[in-house]
């Protein structure tokens, strides 16, 4: 219980930090990093929720985190490619 609370609480704090940075800072790259930190917070939380009391860990949130990580990485890559393209366009103008 205490371990889960600590781990999940760390997830909540990561999420809040990411959300704050996402709202406050303007540059695209910072927003993207903030978004990824928010994502890590959510993954933390899901993993913490998977383990409640003395029961066997719940495989459903584990599977969601697993696919979530890969999807988050590819979404970040797409956003980075778009950001770079935007910058190229700005330079050309």
């Amino acid at each position: 219980m205490m371990t889960s609370l600590l781990y999940g609480g760390a997830g909540v704090i990561l999420f809040a930090l990411g959300l704050w940075a996402f709202l406050v800072y303007e540059p695209l790259l910072r927003k993207l990093i903030a978004l990824n930190i928010m994502g890590s917070g959510v993954f933390h939380l899901l993993i913490a929720i998977a383990e409640r009391g003395a029961l066997a860990p719940d495989p459903v949130p584990h599977a969601m985190v697993l696919t979530g990580i890969v999807v988050a990485v590819s979404a970040t890559a797409l956003a980075l490619a778009m950001g770079r393209r935007l910058e190229d366009d700005d330079d050309a103008r």
Binding site: M1, S4, L5, G8, G9, V12, I13, F15, A16, L19, W20, L23, V24, L45, A48, I49, A50, R52, G53, A54, L55, A56, P57, D58, P59, V60, H62, A63, L66, T67, I69, V70, V71, V73, S74, A75, A77, L78, L80, A81, M82, R84, R85, D88
Partner: protein, 224 residues
């Protein structure tokens, strides 16, 4: 003014965090959940690792759509123009390390793919390792991140979702419904899907790291 706005946002986000922590405390008590049902039905899925069972049997539809998301992201990256040329070729020490690390990554990926049936592992971890091998190669100066020629890349990137759909259609044709495997075949169908998914995820991640339309080498098919 900007500073004041930042502080207000900070205060609001802080309140949100406190509320979420409060909720979390109540959530972390043993309550009815899907785990018992998932573990109880596991012998029927053909795998003994519950996470793989969830990914490829209970929620196979979800995983199929996730592979489609990966493919969509890669298509987006490829449609944003040509990739920047590779970095400069690696020096002797880095080249030596790459020669050592890349085969090891591929070997570990294969191991994780196989072990995923009964222990932590599976297509996503194995695919991530293959992608990492691509990243290492790109950093060492290979403009194409060690990926095969462009037409093969395209086919491999589609392979995961395509194999998934084909298996789904085959199970439909046999009358068990879309992606409900007959128990006798389940293990091999899951392994087939996972192998294709591993290749697709690895290629997608490495190609995403290249960050643009792959530049064909001389004598190859042109750009997309």
């Amino acid at each position: 003014m900007r500073r004041a706005g930042t502080l207000v946002i900070g205060a609001l986000v802080g309140l949100l965090a406190l509320w979420l922590l409060w909720v979390l405390r109540d959530v972390l008590v043993p309550t009815p959940r899907l785990a018992e049902l998932a573990l109880q039905e596991l012998p029927n899925t053909g795998v003994s690792n519950p996470v793989t069972g969830v990914l490829l049997a209970y929620r196979a539809y979800d995983t199929l759509l996730e592979l489609a998301v990966l493919l969509a992201a890669l298509l987006g990256i490829w449609s944003l123009g040509a990739a920047s040329p590779g970095f400069q070729p690696a020096g002797t020490v880095l080249r030596g390390m790459v020669k050592l690390v890349v085969p090891l990554l591929i070997l570990t990926g294969g191991y994780l793919l196989w072990v995923g049936g009964h222990a932590p592992g599976g297509a996503f971890q194995a695919g991530a390792l293959l992608g990492a091998a691509g990243v290492v190669l790109r950093l060492a100066g290979d403009a194409r991140a060690g990926l095969p020629p462009v037409p093969v890349q395209r086919r491999l990137a589609v392979a995961g979702a395509a194999t998934f759909v084909l298996v789904g259609l085959a199970t439909m044709a046999f009358g068990t419904g879309f992606l409900s495997y007959p128990p006798a075949w389940a293990k091999w169908l899951i392994l087939t899907i996972e192998t294709a998914a591993t290749l697709a995820i690895g290629v997608t991640l490495a190609a995403a790291y290249v960050g643009g339309q792959p530049v064909p080498r001389s004598g190859e098919d042109g750009p997309l």
